[in-house]
């Protein structure tokens, strides 16, 4: 049997794409922003009713809201029913990896050099790695790159169909419209070409398909409302301007500066489309940390082109004597390692750190939720915000949370009251009474001030404690 001829260039791309796959496979499901999607999907599939009213919190019970992610909720539940969390995590890794494969083809078209395309892909990976947690945004990553690819290949007819699906899966479909808008603007050469451009018709059709969602045009109002509310909630750092003091922000600014330096060294000029794309997505990324991933994805081909010009100037390193057999062995070993990273097998992978072998991260309040679920006295729970999603999934249907990561659906008063109680404000007891809270599930890391107060209060009794948090039950006062 002849061994496949694997050159060093193939090795580069296999290693990069494989690293992406392996990394995403081994990210445990976090407690913050996944579980409530699964619960919503379960509800819709079992009851055959669309969720457009809140049924999980007691502070917003029965209040209407726009459920942007209904299709992703259904997908998650179907996958969960078919193969549990293992299957969801695996598909998630495939989605992200597929995005990077498409991105590789786009980068390679700009540079013709596999190594440089791989290097630009690596930069993208480093910038976007913190956005690879399991949540509907991963569908947007795939659709975003797919839109880039379809626009580049001028397969315009497929884009409205993509946008149709995207609109019902995740709110970042707006970015797809922005991509088409940029193409249209850059295709304008004179007044006549404004209306002759096929991109204009793609844009109009795509916009019209975005109205094919349960909320119609109301979707847009809600999308912008989500953004403005989320920005005001200061502890959700992904909605803040990237800071050089945190890892993603530091990498983002380093990438911006690197691009500047590369442009200087290569003496390359960005064409009109690349410049407009750069400016728009830079502004988006500067406006919030969670948009850095879109900047990274859209700039990948630009980085590839500029890096290509830098190395063309200085001369590309000679690939030297290729050792296909050695390359084959490396690929084999790497593939074996990646196989050991898939969710079903990673728990036994000795080369992974302990935290990465877990399916669910160890900040998830599993035991706390189990305890609360077994306690039939508990109905209205004042919870740590980051546990809201898991509680929605794990608790009984008659048990409701105070607040959860769907923060945009909560009125400002609820959010303010949550912060006041959590911060140990003087009004904490009266607020808990006002909301008729009968149990507290408090995080030792995030709600320490409140824990001290509750411990000192005669109205609350500690009924459970573990390394993550404490559960207190309200004491009913006996009369007479």
């Amino acid at each position: 049997m002849k061994l496949p001829k694997i050159t060093i260039e193939h090795l580069w791309i296999i290693l990069i794409i494989g690293t992406v796959f392996g990394y995403v496979c081994t990210v445990p499901v976090d407690e913050i922003d996944f579980w409530h999607y699964l619960k919503a999907g379960e509800f819709m599939m079992t009851s055959h009713k669309f969720i457009d009213k809140d049924i999980f919190s007691f502070t917003m019970l029965n209040q209407s809201y726009v459920n942007f992610h209904w299709a992703s909720q259904v997908i998650y539940y179907l996958l969960y029913s078919a193969g549990g969390l293992y299957l969801i995590e695996f598909i998630h890794a495939l989605i992200i990896t597929a995005s990077f494969i498409l991105l590789f083809f786009l980068a390679k078209e700009r540079t013709e050099n596999i190594r440089i395309a791989s290097a630009s892909l690596f930069i993208t990976f480093m910038l976007s790695a913190t956005n690879f947690s399991l949540r509907p945004q991963s569908f947007s990553i795939l659709f975003f790159v797919l839109t880039m690819y379809l626009l580049h290949k001028r397969i315009l007819w497929a884009i409205p169909l993509l946008i149709l699906i995207w609109t019902n899966v995740h709110a970042a479909f707006l970015l797809g419209l922005i991509l088409i808008l940029i193409e249209w603007v850059c295709s304008i050469k004179n007044i006549k070409s404004i209306f002759n451009s096929p991109f204009l018709y793609t844009l109009i059709t795509s916009f019209l398909t975005t109205l094919l969602n349960p909320s119609g045009i109301g979707l847009y109002k809600s999308v912008f409302a989500v953004e403005s509310v989320s920005r005001k909630v200061s502890y959700i750092t992904e909605w803040e301007t990237p800071s050089i003091h945190d890892t993603t922000g530091l990498l983002f600014y380093a990438a911006l500066i690197l691009l500047f330096v590369l442009l200087n060294i290569s003496k390359a000029k960005l064409n009109r489309k690349d410049l407009l794309t750069f400016l728009i997505f830079s502004f988006l990324a500067l406006s919030c940390l969670r948009s850095v991933v879109w900047w990274a994805l859209i700039m990948t081909p630009v980085f590839a082109e500029v890096l290509g010009k830098v190395f063309k100037k200085g001369g590309l390193p000679n690939s030297g004597t290729s050792l296909p057999f050695v390359n084959f062995i490396i690929v084999l070993v790497f593939t074996l390692y990646l196989t050991g990273c898939i969710p079903w097998l990673k728990v036994n992978n000795p080369f992974l750190p302990a935290s990465k072998r877990l399916l669910i991260n160890d900040d998830t309040p599993l035991e706390i939720a189990n305890f609360i679920k077994e306690n039939h006295k508990i109905k209205n729970i004042f919870n740590d915000y980051s546990w809201g999603s898991y509680f929605i999934w794990a608790l009984r249907n008659d048990q409701k949370v105070f607040y959860d990561p769907r923060c945009a659906i909560f009125p400002q008063k609820v959010i303010s009251d949550y912060l006041l109680i959590t911060g140990g404000d003087y009004s904490w007891e009266s607020l808990l009474k006002y909301y008729r809270v009968d149990a507290l599930a408090l995080s030792k890391n995030e709600q320490n001030e409140l824990i001290l107060l509750v411990k000192a209060s005669a109205d609350w009794k500690k009924v459970y404690e573990d390394k993550l948090g404490i559960v207190f039950l309200k004491q009913t006062k006996r009369i007479g």
């Binding site: 920005r231 803040e240 301007t241 800071s243 050089i244 003091h245 922000g249 600014y253 500066i257 691009l259 500047f260 330096v261 442009l263 200087n264 003496k267 000029k269 960005l270 410049l275 750069f278 400016l279 830079s282 502004f283 500067l286 406006s287 911060g423 140990g424 404000d425 003087y426 009004s427 904490w428 001030e449 001290l452 107060l453």
Partner: protein, 478 residues
């Protein structure tokens, strides 16, 4: 100057620098970060000893610290004695305008175009405007601009002398060292062998050595780095990274991204020093908003150079040959008149200034609160609004100590945490106040609203004074 020489280009420069002077001159002195310098200058002047222990607060009493600004404190006290706040405000306006005059000159040298130089200087001023408060940083602004100017003119021999003065006036002398380092690194060549400018390297070494000529020597450096980390608490927002959601941050990021546009359309190459300047000062500015001013000044000449190149490429014609020069003079005269009426002594009569700018001292300075506190003989441990710390340090009696002042680096983390706990109306507020043996509260209505509500309803405190900005409470006798 003959009428025919005062072209519109000169008017551009005059307008930019004149408005800078007028703006700074008409700024009232704020309460945050100035008054304690006059007080410490006063004590130093009369005792002939540099203050190196905290003496104004009871939470950090007698704690040693590095007094970076001792020379500026003496300066402030001296000129305050001579001419009061108006003289200090006037000198401050001259210092800031002088700094940007240097920036303008550099921009002119780079671009050879007065209008472009004026635009670049204007952008630099707009970026820096949040840093124009009357405080020792003004000297750093001047020295930074002067260092940059001297470096570009290659008049190196003055620079170490400048550092000798700078290091005893304000902690931002470090940015001057960074400027020199950038020049040194920019001079490195790798062509056939490693080459570096020995003149610049010698300059850097000399500048570093002169920075040791302070009462603290090398200990100065850890103190400066410590200040930055301590100030990343919730109280001092100027130490936070810039955000696109604030005006200052938005303008900074627009300016930052504009360099990419200029790079794309300019025909001028970037030399190594310019690239390094861009990178290093961008990183500093991204670390904290208060460093945006160094970015603004250091990159202004580069901005002017490339802006000029872009304008030339666009072939925008300059139609100055048919201008009415007399009109230029009239306009300049009117502007000059306006500027004169922005001087601290005359600004109360300037009808074109908003009323808040007629004042010498900002409206939210707790003057009346301080006067009232001075009459309370039993007020020894005062829990104060953080913003008022500086003014209270200046105006209260020696035996009246406050809880917290702007000099955050001297306070333990627990004190800052407790300040926030009490100010935000935490349920433990009374216990914490008792722990610190506080007898008087001077609370800001805007900043400490929740605490005010609690204190008003508490039987342990009685209100003894109230005005538009704050309230004073005294502990009730048990």
């Amino acid at each position: 100057m003959k009428i025919k020489e005062f072209k519109i280009e000169y008017l551009w420069a005059f307008v930019v620098l004149g408005m800078c002077f007028a703006y700074v001159s008409s700024m009232p002195v704020d309460q945050y970060d100035f008054w304690h310098y006059i007080k410490t200058g006063n004590i130093t002047w009369h005792t002939h000893k540099i203050i190196d222990k905290e003496i104004f607060t009871f939470t950090a009493f007698n704690k040693s610290y590095i007094n970076l600004h001792w020379a500026s404190q003496l300066y402030y006290y001296f000129f305050y004695s001579v001419g009061g706040i108006p003289l200090l405000a006037f000198m401050h306006a001259l210092i800031i305008t002088g700094s940007f005059l240097l920036v303008f000159k550099l921009c002119l040298d780079y671009s050879k175009n007065m209008r472009i130089a004026a635009i670049a200087t204007f952008i630099s001023i707009v970026l820096s405007v949040t840093n124009f408060a009357l405080r020792p940083q003004e000297f750093s602004i001047l020295f930074f601009a002067l260092t940059l100017f001297l470096l570009k003119k290659e008049k190196y021999y003055f620079i170490p002398l400048l550092f000798l003065l700078w290091v005893n006036i304000h902690g931002a002398f470090v940015t001057g060292l960074i400027l020199v380092t950038v020049e040194v690194v920019g001079s490195i060549k790798f062509a056939k062998k490693f080459e570096i400018s020995t003149r610049l390297l010698t300059l850097l070494i000399l500048c570093f050595i002169t920075t040791l000529f302070t009462p603290w020597g090398l200990k100065l450096y850890p103190a400066i780095f410590n200040i930055e980390s301590q100030n990343l608490s919730n109280l001092v927002t100027e130490w936070f990274s810039p955000s696109l959601h604030t005006w200052a941050g938005l303008i900074f990021f627009i300016n930052f991204l504009s360099f990419f546009i200029l790079k794309n359309f300019s025909t001028k190459n970037w030399n190594r020093t310019d690239i390094l300047t861009f990178i290093v000062f961008a990183v500093l500015a991204l670390r904290s908003q208060r460093a945006i001013i160094w970015w603004a000044i250091a990159t202004a000449p580069i901005l002017a150079l490339h802006l000029n190149s872009v304008i030339l490429n666009l072939k925008i014609k300059n139609n100055s040959s048919e201008e009415n020069l007399l009109l230029n003079y009239i306009f300049a005269l009117i502007l000059a008149l306006y500027i004169v009426f922005c001087l601290p002594w005359l600004k109360p009569y300037n009808i074109f200034l908003p009323k808040s700018k007629h004042l010498l001292i900002a409206l939210d300075t707790p003057c009346k609160l301080a006067d009232k506190l001075n009459t309370i003989s039993s007020a020894h441990h005062i829990f104060n609004n953080f913003s008022w710390g500086s003014y209270f340090m200046w105006s209260l009696k020696d035996n009246q100590k406050i809880f917290i002042s702007p000099w955050l680096s001297v306070f333990p983390k627990k004190t800052i945490h407790d300040y926030l706990l009490i100010s935000n109306g935490n349920a433990f507020w009374e216990k914490v106040l008792r722990d610190y043996d506080i007898d008087t509260l001077a609370l800001g209505k805007e900043e400490q609203g929740r605490l005010l509500t609690l204190v008003n309803n508490s039987p342990n405190w009685v209100k003894i004074y109230e005005d538009e900005i704050g309230v004073i409470f005294k502990k009730t006798e048990l």
